[in-house]
C-alpha cells in the first residue's frame, strides 16, 4: 500500500538561503512519526512547507498526500483534504472564545451534526476546555492553549495530524499531559507526524523517527534503534 504521505526531494529556499535540502520522508497510515533535531534545523519549515503555509515560490520537489500531489496547492485547500497542522507556538485566536476557536477548526466541513459530536469528544479528551468554553482563547494558560490548538486541528477531521513542537514553553508535567493526549489520539487510529526538540519524549512516543540537521535528514530508523544509537544519545539525549 502506498504511504499516506510521501515527500520526495523537497527543497525550500527563503530568498537565496536553502533552508530545506532534499528531504525525503514517508508516513504510512496509522503510524506515528517524529522529526527531531536542534533549533533552526529546518523542522518547522519542512512541516509548514508540507502544509502549504510557506511561500510557494520557494518550494521544489514532490509532496504526495493520499495519492494527490499537493505541492502547488494553497494551504487552506490542503487542510480541507485532511492534512491538519497544530502550529508551533499554538497560534490560538486570542479574541475568539474557546468554542469559537474549535469551530473555526471545522470551517471546511459541511457535516455539522458530526462536528457537534466530535466537539463533545474533544471536551472529553480535554475536560479543561469544556470548563473554559466561553472564555477567550488568549486568557488560557500555555498548556490549555496547546490543548485548544490540538482540539482545533482535530475538528478539521484530519487523515494526517501534524504537530509542531507540542512541548514548546510548557512545564514538564504539562508536557506529559499533552503527550498522553497525543498517545490517546493515536490509539483512535489517527496517523500523526510531530516535530519535537524534546528528543527524549519524542523517541518514547513515536514509532519511527527522522533526525534533521541543517535542513537535511541525516538519519532515519525506528525510535527504539534511534534511542540506542550512540550519536543520537550524545547529540540529542544528553547522555555520554
Amino acid at each position: 500500500m502506498a504511504p499516506l504521505l510521501e515527500v520526495k526531494n523537497l527543497n525550500y529556499s527563503y530568498g537565496n538561503i536553502l533552508v530545506v535540502k532534499d528531504v525525503n520522508l514517508y508516513i504510512n497510515e496509522g503510524e506515528i512519526v517524529t522529526l527531531i533535531g536542534a533549533n533552526g534545523a529546518g523542522k518547522t519549515t519542512t512541516l509548514r512547507t508540507i502544509s502549504g503555509l510557506t511561500d510557494a515560490s520557494g518550494v521544489k520537489g514532490e509532496i504526495i498526500f493520499n495519492g494527490k500531489n499537493i505541492q502547488k496547492m494553497p494551504g487552506n485547500k490542503i487542510t480541507s483534504l485532511g492534512l491538519c497542522q497544530v502550529l508551533e507556538g499554538r497560534h490560538i485566536f486570542s479574541k475568539l472564545t474557546v468554542r469559537e476557536n474549535l469551530l473555526v477548526g471545522a470551517y471546511t466541513r459541511k457535516d455539522m451534526d458530526n462536528v457537534k459530536k466530535e466537539l463533545e469528544e474533544i471536551y472529553t479528551l480535554f475536560p479543561r476546555l469544556r470548563e473554559r468554553m466561553e472564555q477567550l482563547g488568549g486568557t488560557l494558560s500555555g498548556g490549555e492553549q496547546q490543548m485548544l490548538a490540538i482540539g482545533r486541528a482535530l475538528l478539521g477531521k484530519p487523515k494526517l495530524l501534524l504537530l509542531d513542537e507540542p512541548s514548546l514553553g510548557l512545564a514538564p508535567l504539562v508536557i506529559r499531559e499533552i503527550f498522553e493526549a497525543i498517545v490517546r489520539i493515536r490509539n483512535t487510529g489517527m496517523t500523526i507526524m510531530f516535530v519535537e526538540q524534546n528528543s527524549k519524549i519524542a523517541l518514547e512516543t513515536a514509532d519511527r523517527g527522522y533526525v534533521v540537521q541543517n535542513g537535511q535528514i541525516v538519519m532515519e530508523d525506528t525510535c527504539k534503534n534511534l534511542a540506542s544509537n550512540e550519536e543520537v544519545k550524545k547529540a540529542y539525549l544528553g547522555e555520554d
Binding site: 494553497p74 487552506n76 487542510t79 497560534h91 485566536f93 469559537e100 470551517y107 482545533r152 478539521g156
Partner: protein, 290 residues
C-alpha cells in the same frame, strides 16, 4: 432646541460610525487604512441618486443595488491594487498612499460623471417633516439613524454568529492559523474591503437626502470617521460606532451652543486629546508598541 441638536448629532454621528466601522474592519483584516473610505460614501450617494432619482427604482431596491455595486468595487480594489502591492512586498505606508490616489481618482471620476453641482436627492418619504417630541424633523433624518443602527446590528450578527463572519475575525487575528484551519484568507480579506465599502456607501445614500450629493461630500466625513474610529479604539467595531456617535454629538453641540466656526477645532482637539491621554480609545484597543 436640545432635541433637534441631539437628532442632527445622531444623524451625522451614525454616519461617522459607519465610516469608522469600515476603517476598523480594514485595519483589523489587513493592518492598513484606506483613505478612500470617505469617497466610498460619496460614490454611494451618487449611485443612490442615479438609481433612485434618475432610474426611478424603488428606494429599497436602489439601496440594495448601491450596496452590491460598492461591495464588489471594494472587493475589486483589494484584489487588483492592494493585494498586488502586498505581493510585490511594498511597504504598508505606500499602500496607504495608494488609497489616497484611489480617493482622488474616485472624486475626479465622480465629478466627470455627475458634474460639480450639488445634486438634490429626491425625498424618500411623502411627508416633508414629522414631529418628534415637539420638534419637526425630516423623516429621512430618523431613517438615517434607524438604518445605520440596523446596519451595525446586522454586521455585528454577521461577524459574531455566522461561520464566515467568525472565520473573517479569525483571519484578521492570525492569518497563518486561519489558513491552517482551511480559511481562504485572501478571499476573506477581500470581503472585508467589500463590506467596508458597502457600509460606507450605505452612509452615503442615507445622508444624500439630508445633505445633498456633491463630490466632496465624503472627503470631510471620511476624516471625521477616522477620528471616530480612533476615539472608539482603532480596530474595534463597537468602539467605532460609539466613537462616531460621540463625535457627532460633540460637533453639533458645539455648533449649536458655541459657534459652528469652532466645530472642527473642537472635534479634532478631541481626537488629539484621545491620542495623548487614551490612545487605546474608549474600548481599550491595543494602540501601544510593547
Amino acid at each position: 432646541m436640545l432635541i433637534q441638536v441631539v437628532i442632527s448629532g445622531l444623524v451625522i454621528g451614525c454616519v461617522y460610525g459607519l465610516i469608522a466601522l469600515g476603517y476598523s474592519l480594514i485595519y483589523k483584516a489587513s493592518g492598513l487604512m484606506s483613505f478612500a473610505q470617505g469617497d466610498m460614501l460619496t460614490l454611494g450617494a451618487f449611485l443612490g441618486y442615479s438609481f433612485y432619482g434618475i432610474f426611478k427604482l424603488p428606494f429599497v431596491i436602489s439601496l440594495v443595488c448601491v450596496v452590491l455595486c460598492m461591495f464588489f468595487l471594494g472587493l475589486f480594489l483589494e484584489k487588483a491594487i492592494i493585494r498586488t502591492l502586498l505581493k510585490n512586498h511594498v511597504l504598508p505606508v505606500y499602500i496607504v498612499l495608494a488609497t489616497i490616489a484611489i480617493s482622488y481618482i474616485i472624486q475626479n471620476a465622480a465629478m466627470l460623471i455627475w458634474g460639480t453641482q450639488t445634486l438634490s436627492f429626491p425625498q424618500i418619504f411623502p411627508i416633508p417633516l414629522v414631529g418628534v417630541l415637539g420638534v419637526k424633523v425630516q423623516p429621512e433624518a430618523l431613517f438615517c439613524i434607524l438604518m445605520s443602527l440596523v446596519c451595525m446590528v446586522a454586521l455585528h450578527i454577521f461577524m459574531k454568529y455566522t461561520r464566515f463572519g467568525t472565520a473573517m475575525r479569525a483571519a484578521a487575528m492570525d492569518a497563518t492559523a486561519a489558513r491552517a484551519c482551511g480559511i481562504n484568507v485572501s478571499f476573506s480579506t477581500g470581503v472585508t474591503w467589500g463590506l467596508s465599502a458597502g457600509v460606507a456607501a450605505t452612509g452615503g445614500i442615507l445622508l444624500g437626502p439630508i445633505y445633498g450629493v456633491y463630490t466632496m461630500l465624503g472627503a470631510i466625513i471620511g476624516r471625521k470617521g477616522f477620528s471616530s474610529a480612533v476615539i472608539g479604539g482603532f480596530g474595534n467595531m463597537y468602539g467605532a460606532i460609539v466613537g462616531g456617535i460621540l463625535l457627532g454629538l460633540v460637533e453639533t453641540c458645539t455648533s449649536a451652543y458655541i459657534s459652528s466656526a469652532y466645530k472642527d477645532i473642537i472635534s479634532y482637539s478631541v481626537l488629539l486629546l484621545f491620542l495623548f491621554v487614551k490612545p487605546t480609545g474608549l474600548f481599550n484597543e491595543q494602540a501601544l508598541t510593547d
